[in-house]
């Protein structure tokens, strides 16, 4: 091989400012899917933990509500994804092959398995009181449903990282941790709301504690992700414009800091009528913030792909990046 000539260092020049990458077509339907299936997946994890460790019967209370949440998510989610395809009539081609290198392919199979298992646990939630068979089936399906549910909560981050879009590719592991923690915070918040509505305030309190812990984990993971972006010099799309509004204002502010403050206030405050409004608002904010974070991540990622100064910088040799 001939020797590589010494080229002058890259000084940030682009080709007439034109993009060097193509942005994905992922829009609100995909971000809604990511948020919804995160909730559904983590709900199955919680259902399994509750069955293993608690005295909740599977036919009532938390377990039943978690299974119904999972069933709702795994019904609406695939419809959103199919709607997002540019040739929706061929959705079934997703199940034509298994491609181990493609998180989209493995994710399709994971979603199929999760949807099927969630349908089985739904049998327990709906007919568990009357039918022993339904209880048995749901019991057997609960473990696998939780494992696939854990996968559903995080595989979407792995899918985004496995692209050339700078913002998604820059922090594969922390991004998955952030998505997973956001999913658990959302699921715990949604179930806390349901428990509050059902009058099971003590169970709701524990779920709110879990949601707060998950939100703190999400905050930490988000900080690591942001630091990776800054180190790579590609943070612009996440710190300006809509990306900033959704990630900082929506994801961090409304989704983590505000609800954490509200939960802290309600714990410190006296037990009373007002102590129920605050946690419920906090739970709602956490669910909305998780959705905003996912949408912001797609928005900012697409924007970073359209910015040649970011994509060309991201593909500099590691030591030459700024």
């Amino acid at each position: 091989m001939t020797a590589q000539p010494r080229l002058p260092p890259w000084r940030g020049e682009t080709y007439h400012g034109l993009p060097s990458l193509k942005a994905s077509s992922f829009d609100w339907k995909v971000s809604a899917y990511i948020a919804l299936l995160g909730l559904a997946g983590s709900a199955q994890v919680l259902a399994a933990v509750a069955r293993l460790t608690g005295r909740h019967g599977e036919e009532d209370g938390l377990v039943r509500r978690a299974r119904l949440l999972a069933a709702t998510g795994s019904t609406i989610g695939p419809l959103l994804l199919i709607r997002h395809l540019k040739t929706p009539s061929r959705w079934y081609n997703m199940l034509r092959i298994v491609r181990p290198t493609s998180p989209m392919s493995l994710g399709s199979w994971l979603l199929t398995a999760f949807g099927g298992l969630s349908a089985l646990t739904t049998l327990g939630a709906l007919f568990g009181r009357r039918s022993r068979l339904a209880r048995r089936v749901a019991e057997v399906a609960q473990g696998p449903a939780a494992i696939t549910g854990a996968g559903m909560s995080v595989y979407t981050a792995s899918l985004l990282s496995s692209t050339s879009t700078p913002l998604w590719a820059a922090a594969p592991a922390p991004l998955a941790a952030q998505f997973g923690a956001a999913s658990m915070a959302g699921a715990a918040s949604a179930l806390a709301l349901a428990q509050r509505r059902a009058g099971e305030d003590r169970s709701a309190r524990r779920l709110e504690t879990l949601a707060a812990a998950a939100a703190m984990g999400e905050f930490a993971a988000a900080r690591v992700v942001e630091r990776r972006w800054k180190q790579a010099g590609i943070a612009h799309a996440a710190t300006h414009g809509r990306g900033r509004a959704l990630l900082q204002g929506g994801g961090k502010g409304a989704g983590m800091l505000l609800p954490l403050a509200a939960h802290a206030l309600s714990v410190l405050g006296a037990e009373g009528r007002s102590s129920r409004v605050l946690p419920e608002l906090a739970s709602l904010a956490m669910i909305a913030g998780g959705a905003a974070m996912r949408h912001g991540m797609l928005q900012a990622g697409n924007e970073s792909a359209r910015r040649p100064q970011d994509s060309l910088r991201f593909n500099q040799p590691r030591n030459a990046r700024r």
């Binding site: 942005a23 050339s164 003590r202 812990a213």
Partner: protein, 302 residues
Amino acid sequence: MMEGGLAHPRALRHTDLDPQQPIPQEAELTTGRRIEPGRAYGFFTDTTLCIGCKACEVACKEWNQLPADDLRLSGTSYDNTRALSAHTWRHVTFAERIVEDGQRVTSMPPYQSNWLMMSDVCKHCDPAPCLEACPTGAIFRTEFETVVVQQDICNGCGYCVPACPFGVVELSTDDGKAHKCTLCYDRLKGGLEPACAKSCPTDSIQFGPVEELLDLAERRVEHLHAQGQPRAYLYGTPGAPGATGGIGRLNAFFLLTERPEVYNLPSEPSRPSRRAKPSFLAGLATMAGLAVAAALIGVGRR
């Protein structure tokens, strides 16, 4: 019937054939190389020979019957095509060297002007990130080691689009499928070299078996160095810029004389599928930790 003089000696062997019939292995006449399944074929695009005529763009559009894209003028250079797209599979970039080291450029590199022109195309990477991302199997590797999107299978999920490190493949808003250069799969099957390479008047685009092209390209670089163009280098050959981060080689590779970014190419692209496993495992570990936290908090208790 062709008379001596004008005809290529190899063409004269075919004078007794029926003129209505295609010439078998016509590529042998036009490139001196046979097209046989099981070998890797690609392009060697030598930018020092490109004159920016865009014959490749036109030939590609005509053969593949691709519709026109945006017809406005870019206002930045002679490049009004601007980018590869679902309907543009060859794109000639025009970069003018005006300033270097803060000084106005007053001289020209040997055998070239200060216009750097390059006919960009799908790189037919090996391994190919778009193929690795495709969940339907629509994108596949052909018997010529090229990467092609099967239009009857693609469902327009669009995952190949952000997967591509070069911004090549795109979804068409006309039919909702992903499209990109096929390296003229249909022509290769019929023994014809791809339309762009055949139309290139300066042989800036050369078609052939990749192994042969690699040899040719190495010799071309040495020749240019000897001629006084010390900046000539290859982009996309094994170990060179462009074939980095798990991408072994680009079956369509380039000879450049400036930094890759000048031609809108990434210096060190990487193979996206490498990031899937570390990401997924970190996510699962997070979920396991949160499940333990849930058990410790006692979410199961009433």
